[in-house]
């Protein structure tokens, strides 16, 4: 029983990371109906930026917030310079560009930082009071950070005018422009936010999987599974899906198929959901009367 609970909670902790990255994917999908395959590699790159800042002697939290800000800017610049000119391009070209971005981030990270595996610090002391026999302080911290992201995003999109404008621009760009909403700027902001969230996910996962250019590949697949299970157009679904995938991955991995096949579980989940319920478990169906 003890071991089961331990696996369950550990699943929640990694689930928080998947949920965050899934949220970043959903954010871009909602705005542009594109899936950013490079999201994971961008997060990895951000984590290397954080690592560099920490190596340079900055305190952890200063490096953390600086990285979030830098990642926001990088993602926004990518939207402006690479994605925006493609807004009338066929879908396949956009997919190819995303894959290109993935490869570029991967190899640039390898070139700049080397492919040797590096340790990445956690800000949550291993002896902190909030550790329990079920959860290490880093796991508690990860869950807490994921919930903070969720709360902050919901407050932002639910209660601020800027959040409302971003949702409007995603839903109906034409009508938004007629109301004076600068749709391009909203997309850029959405990309920036997704980049910032990805950076946080990267910094939370790096102490566990260690830092190297390939660290986000698996995470991205789990995040995809989470986003698809929840419904790729539904932020709440992405969060629930992310946590669910984390828990399932851990339980199925330790009790049924073993660690080697864990990643396949995620892929089976993706295929299964797409076959049975293409919109995801919580996928939104927008009703329209005519």
């Amino acid at each position: 029983m003890e071991a089961f609970l331990q696996q369950l909670f550990a699943g929640l902790a990694t689930g928080g990371i998947y949920a965050s990255l899934a949220l970043a994917l959903v954010m871009i999908y909602q705005a542009t109906h594109q899936v950013n395959f490079a999201q994971g590699e961008m997060a990895m790159f951000s984590t290397f930026i954080a690592w560099t800042l920490i190596q340079a002697g900055l305190p952890y939290w200063v490096a953390f917030f600086a990285t979030v800000a830098i990642s926001f800017v990088i993602a926004a610049v990518i939207e402006f310079t690479i994605i925006r000119p493609l807004h009338k391009a066929p879908e396949l070209s956009v997919v190819v560009v995303f894959i290109g971005l993935l490869v570029i981030f991967h190899s640039v990270a390898g070139f700049l930082f080397g492919s040797q595996i590096k340790q990445f610090p956690t800000p949550f002391e291993p002896t902190a009071w909030y550790g329990t026999s079920y959860l290490s302080p880093h796991q508690v911290g990860t869950i807490f950070v994921a919930l903070c992201i969720v709360a902050a995003l919901f407050a932002f999109f639910g209660f601020t005018t800027l959040g409302l404008k971003m949702r409007a621009a995603a839903q109906n760009p034409g009508s938004s422009r007629l109301l004076g909403v600068n749709v391009g700027r909203m997309l850029m902001l959405g990309w920036g936010l997704a980049g910032a969230i990805g950076a946080i996910a990267g910094m939370m996962v790096a102490p566990v999987v260690f830092l190297d250019p390939g660290m986000m590949t698996g995470v991205l697949i789990y995040a995809f599974a989470g986003a698809l299970i929840g419904g790729i157009d539904n932020p709440v679904g992405a969060i629930v899906g992310g946590f669910l995938v984390g828990v399932l991955e851990n339980l199925i991995g330790s009790y049924i198929v073993g660690t080697e096949l864990k990643l396949s579980v995620a892929l089976i989940l993706i295929v299964g959901v797409l076959v049975v319920r293409p919109a995801g478990l919580m996928g939104r169906v927008v009703v329209q009367r005519v």
């Binding site: 109906n172 007629l178 909403v181």
Partner: protein, 238 residues
């Protein structure tokens, strides 16, 4: 005194196809100007061309005396042109109230925003009843009211109305036009009204233009056009 909106030689094309062949048009401060014509005459295109929305345009457009032909759609909206587009432009997934709040996004003053919302709810009490409802579930008439309410939230000095009667039951049309009459007397807003339903349009309008295949073929006061034989035969069914 110059007009609120002065259009000279306006041409518009979708890709290589020109659909407006140079039209002249004036809208006076606080007046209702109707733009009549059959299906495909270029009425919707005219409204779009005024905002540089989805069409390529040339010609000169002056709003409040300043040229706007080089401005973007967003900038023109912020200058005080409220566009109620064809298809109503509803944000289906947002609530009714969010749709309305969105119309007032440029209003930084919270108190003024609430005041504006109360005012449009005053015009459209139905929308207040449905404020929490997802806008996609509103009926056609309610979505039309919502589109007008959303545009009014930006405190426009010119309202472009694209076929507000389209697809609505006669009673609902009557309702919406009587509210429009109230709005034009209570707000200092000029209206450029595009309508296929010439009868209701001429009742509300002060002046009117008749558009045929991308050209203005007649203009005058609403009373003059109502008396015009050709207009009566073709558009009023007399």
């Amino acid at each position: 005194m110059s007009s609120l909106l002065e259009v000279r030689g306006l041409k518009a094309s979708y890709g290589p196809t020109e659909v407006l062949h140079g039209i002249d048009l004036d809208v006076e401060q606080g007046q209702v100007t109707a733009l009549l014509g059959a299906n495909g005459a270029g009425k919707t295109t005219t409204l779009r061309a005024l905002c540089h929305f989805q069409v390529r345009t040339s010609g000169s457009i002056a709003f409040k005396g300043a040229p706007i032909e080089n401005r973007s759609t967003e900038q023109i909206a912020m200058l005080g042109v409220g566009h109620v587009p064809d298809g109503r432009g509803t944000f289906l997934g947002l609530s009714t109230e969010e749709n309305i709040r969105l119309g007032g996004h440029g209003q930084g003053d919270k108190g003024a925003l609430t005041e504006d919302m109360e005012r449009v709810y005053g015009y459209f009490p139905r929308l207040r009843e449905r404020r929490a409802q997802q806008a996609g579930t509103l009926s056609g008439g309610e979505q039309q009211m919502l589109a007008i309410a959303r545009a009014l939230m930006g405190r426009p000095s010119l309202l472009l109305l694209d076929e507000p009667s389209f697809g609505l039951a006669p009673l609902v049309v009557k309702d919406i036009f009587s509210i429009m009459r109230r709005i034009r007397t209570e707000q200092k807003v000029a209206i450029l009204l595009v309508e296929q339903n010439a009868r209701v349009a001429l009742e509300l309008a002060d002046t009117a233009y008749l558009l045929e295949t991308g050209r203005i073929v007649k203009s005058g006061t609403a009373a003059e056009l109502r008396q015009d034989d050709a207009v009566r035969r073709a558009y009023l069914g007399d």
